[in-house]
């Protein structure tokens, strides 16, 4: 079993071979992209995959992620991977100026979502104990 960390979630997936090969259904669960003959697709957009990154119904998610421009970092034992957001995606989201939405727990563990505050002016600030 391999643990995969995306910017907001954590998945446990059965992987095969070297790298980050998995069933297309698992790849979809982790990345939100669907394997089709054209490549990996989301909504109207398809990203062609290198031939070496697909085999039958299995796909090398690390190779796909690199194609998207995002970092795919493995632990030394290759049992934990972090898939980081592609920089183009982050920059486009910020330049769009719509505040990127997120959900985080409050101090009592209640999940709070930024977009629940529509209709108010929001002063959002970071701090830390350190």
């Amino acid at each position: 079993m391999t643990t995969i960390l995306t910017p907001t979630e954590e998945f446990n997936v059965t992987t095969m071979r070297h790298g980050l090969w998995m069933k297309a259904a698992d790849a979809e669960r982790v990345t939100g992209w669907t394997l089709k003959p054209e490549g990996m697709c989301r909504d109207e957009l398809c990203v062609p995959l290198p031939l070496a990154a697909v085999s039958g119904s299995e796909v090398d998610v690390a190779a796909f992620w690199h194609k998207l421009g995002g970092p795919a970092i493995a632990s030394r034992a290759r049992d934990v991977w972090a898939l980081g957001a592609p920089p183009d995606e982050r920059n486009a989201a910020l330049k769009d100026l719509e505040a990127p939405d997120f959900t985080l727990p409050d101090i009592d563990g209640v999940p709070r979502t930024l977009s629940q505050l529509r209709g108010k002016k929001v002063f959002m600030a970071t701090w830390a104990s350190w």
């Binding site: 972090a82 970071t126 830390a128």
Partner: protein
């Protein structure tokens, strides 16, 4: 945080909300004493993985983003009231000169007054072009640093300290401008280390560069 509570109390009936996000990989219990002391009634969120820093390309605390009623960013990430006067303090007595204390207080007041003016009159909201121009760019190095930081925090929380530290070191090397990554890693190593001798060496190495770039109000 007590000042943010005052601001919130004063302006909450004018459609205003404060969201404080603790970048705190040790988790909620580590932030709790400060939160209880502040007696805050706005949102106090706990961000173990520094998700907000990833989404908004942040590098330090405190940094603030202003968001209008429609959910649009009207001021990009910028220093939220802190100043560099601490760099000149006497490290033995941990005190600043009266002049520096006064200058620091005035800068913080000017920033809070700007928030107040924004809520009541709309002043200090930047236009779209100005916000875009001031947004810091997410580079491939920063994106990789975020992924390594995420992996490092996870590994540490799952008992793999050595490799967790290594990933966080690499994250800091890839994104040296991020004080949050470096200081969080130091704090995970040992509480207090984030403001220890290693921190002061890094601050000194900044030379003329600011630790807290002043907001261009």
């Amino acid at each position: 945080m007590p000042v943010w509570q005052h601001l919130y109390e004063e302006l909450k009936d004018k459609g205003f909300m404060v969201v404080a996000v603790a970048e705190e990989s040790r988790g909620a219990d580590h932030a709790r004493p400060w939160i209880e002391q502040a007696k805050s009634s706005y949102w106090q969120l706990i961000d173990v993985e520094h998700r907000l820093s990833d989404l908004y390309n942040l590098v330090n605390v405190p940094q603030a983003i202003w968001i209008d009623e429609t959910g649009k960013i009207v001021r990009p990430p910028e220093t939220a009231g802190s100043t560099d006067h601490f760099r000149r303090m006497d490290l033995k007595t941990r005190t600043m000169t009266p002049e520096d204390q006064e200058a620091r207080r005035a800068a913080r007041q000017a920033y809070l007054d700007a928030v107040r003016a924004w809520v009541t009159t709309g002043k200090y909201a930047l236009n779209e072009g100005e916000v875009r121009e001031r947004l810091p760019e997410v580079t491939p190095e920063i994106a990789e640093a975020r992924a390594r930081f995420r992996l490092g925090v996870w590994l540490r929380l799952h008992g793999n300290t050595v490799e967790g530290d290594r990933q966080m070191d690499e994250a800091s090397a890839l994104h040296p401008e991020s004080w949050s990554m470096w200081r969080q890693a130091a704090d995970l190593d040992e509480v207090g280390k984030a403001s220890g001798p290693g921190f002061w060496q890094r601050v000194q190495a900044l030379g003329e560069k600011p630790y807290y770039p002043p907001p261009k109000l």
